[in-house]
Symmetry: C2
């Protein structure tokens, strides 16, 4: 039976895509990507490789927007430059492997976070030691220095843990330690 005209069917397909594009864009917000770059990713997600002009046509935005958008997606490793034979324009394709994205993104982020904070803690503790070792200061003062030193010391295990987690994620260990299928976990 023929419920749909061809045009209706194609509009319906586009509508289905849009539902997911919306949802992907909303998600990518959480990964520090603007809504428009997220929508661009979602659009590319359903296409083969695309030129900047094709993107612009689909999204109705300017070409520099596409250029910077693609750049952001490349930084995130979710878009790659491709070669299309006999095509003068540059082409780009979306990375569809979310596991790879997850691993790259969070292992980088967590490693950076841990290193940044541990470095600050080290510097702060060295500076605090100068005060702590100075016996001529009033009790109140070096007690405060010791308190701050202790608070910082107590936070270190978290950052070590985060470094270890990042390493496990990068190596693939973590991915495989969690089941891939639905409701496989005990209830």
């Amino acid at each position: 039976m023929s419920d749909f005209s061809r045009e209706e069917a194609e509009a319906s397909i586009q509508n289905a895509k849009d539902l997911v594009i919306e949802s992907l864009a909303e998600t990518m917000d959480l990964y520090g990507v603007t809504r428009s770059a997220g929508t661009l990713y979602g659009t590319m997600y359903f296409e083969g490789d695309m030129t900047l002009d094709e993107m612009r046509t689909q999204l109705g935005m300017s070409k520099p927007s596409m250029s910077t958008g693609v750049k952001k997606l490349q930084d995130l490793n979710v878009a790659k430059k491709t070669f299309r034979r006999g095509q003068r324009k540059h082409t780009y394709i979306a990375e569809r492997d979310f596991f790879k994205f997850f691993s790259d993104f969070f292992s980088d982020q967590w490693k950076r976070e841990a290193n940044l904070n541990l470095e600050a803690i080290d510097k702060a503790q060295m500076q605090l030691n100068e005060t702590i070792e100075d016996s001529s200061l009033p009790e109140e003062t070096w007690k405060e220095a010791e308190k701050v030193h202790r608070i910082l010391e107590e936070s270190k295990p978290y950052y070590y843990w985060l470094q270890n987690l990042a390493a496990m994620l990068r190596s693939g260990e973590l991915i495989d330690a969690v089941p891939y299928s639905r409701k496989q976990r005990k209830s």
Copy 2:
């Protein structure tokens, strides 16, 4: 020996704190918190409970800023309202347990992300099925519908995996599966 005056020592302690406050604020950017709310958290991190007016004095900002900042931190579960005996003003204290923060934050975020996308995928696939089942359409059209359907189907394992990861994180399983100490992992 007396290298420091008391004032110098106190300035030095504050300087040490500031190093870490800066670093915490930069980190919290990654968790969707504005720089100023991040700085507020860092400030509270080294203090006991604080009133809005104490915060404002320390940060040199307006009281409504403190009010909305604390609210954001409460939403993130990194600040809690406390009771200070005989204190009319409200007081708040920073949560220092980063493990708890990590678990709460990411298990929520990942669960939301998985559910949101799986829901969109479901709706999209149902809509695509209408086109796929319509035998009167040109081959090109239902082939496209099938392709999109397949792409979506192939992404599901990732979201199931993410749901499982979120559950493992919430239950504490994941935290304990990763070592807490430095360089414990094989090199």
